[in-house]
């Protein structure tokens, strides 16, 4: 399997490490009244530990540690290993928008 890093180009698998499913999002556990939501423990347990075992296409985090050291989001078919897309993970690259950008652009 080879992965096309958006920065480096196509590289062998050995340059990358696998983290896992890129879809879980950190849940908001603060309730409307400012306290901790009653189901906070459950949704956090789910977020931290529970993963789907997808047979088919899924989004995954890969780290190009043997290259440009970027975190990537790879859309891969776990059955055929076909890779649909590779993107720099949001927030990882300095090019991503940030409040400072307004200051920088002046």
């Amino acid at each position: 399997m080879r992965i096309s890093c958006p920065y480096c180009g196509e590289r062998e698998l050995g340059e990358f490490s696998y983290l896992g499913d890129a879809s879980p999002k950190r849940p908001a556990v603060i309730a409307a009244d400012g306290g901790v939501a009653p189901d906070a423990e459950d949704v956090f347990y789910d977020y931290v530990y529970l993963r789907d075992n997808v047979a088919g296409e899924m989004s995954e985090h890969w780290y190009h540690g043997g290259g440009c050291r970027s975190w990537l989001v790879v859309r891969r078919n776990t059955v055929s290993h076909e890779i649909k897309s590779v993107e720099i993970a949001a927030g990882a690259g300095a090019r991503t928008g940030h409040p400072n950008q307004e200051r920088a652009n002046g």
């Binding site: 180009g9 050995g14 440009c68 300095a94 950008q101 920088a104």
Partner: protein
């Protein structure tokens, strides 16, 4: 109190034995030279400030900062892309105490810099069999059509992260590749390269 200054010594001082190695017949197929006189600074643009960082680089050195895996050659410096929105500034002058200092003002608030001069060793490889040698330990396609002069890559050699770029051809017309390797792996990688070059005959040396 006694006055003293640290005297820097290449981590490869022991490993590099100048002269011919490997096959002795005919001209050497590969020339390996450790470059000792260099200063290296990594410049990393802060979030959203790449355009400004590139503009400062243009003002300082009169060349375009590499926005991708490229090496850009200037009068006094070579800029080598090392990842998204970051690059190395390579210059001569291992005797410079703090190569970050003269850049601090220009990049203040927009980019972070770290002195990597004592963190890397630099090895230059050339000769008619240089590509055959590299093919043994580097998984990249280095053919002229995809890796011409000015191409650069952050990749792995012998399980260690390296920065590789192609410089203008060596005297005699062969391709010339430069390799930055971590100092603590330099000994092992030098050994790997000399072993890989042995069958072609290697001329080893260093440039102070």
């Amino acid at each position: 109190m006694a006055e003293f200054a640290w005297k820097s010594r290449s981590p490869l001082a022991h490993a590099v034995e100048p002269g011919r190695a490997g096959a002795r017949a005919g001209a050497a197929g590969v020339t390996l030279t450790e470059i000792r006189d260099f200063a290296l600074v990594q410049v990393m643009a802060r979030r959203g400030t790449w355009a400004e960082t590139a503009r400062v680089a243009q003002q300082l050195w009169g060349i375009d900062a590499p926005g991708g895996p490229k090496a850009v050659f200037g009068q006094d410096v070579t800029l080598v892309g090392s990842g998204p929105d970051q690059f190395f500034v390579l210059s001569k002058g291992s005797s410079v105490q703090d190569p970050v200092e003269p850049l601090k003002q220009a990049f203040a608030g927009i980019a972070s810099m770290t002195d990597q001069s004592d963190g890397r060793c630099m090895i230059s490889l050339s000769g008619p069999r240089v590509r055959d040698t590299l093919a043994k330990f580097c998984s990249l396609d280095l053919h002229d059509s995809v890796f011409p002069v000015g191409a650069a890559a952050a990749t792995s050699v012998d399980h260690s992260a390296v920065t590789l770029w192609r410089a203008p051809n060596a005297d005699g017309g062969s391709p010339l590749y430069n390799l930055l390797v971590f100092t603590s792996f330099a000994d092992s990688i030098w050994h790997l390269i000399t072993e890989s070059a042995a069958e072609y005959g290697a001329e080893l040396g260093y440039a102070a």
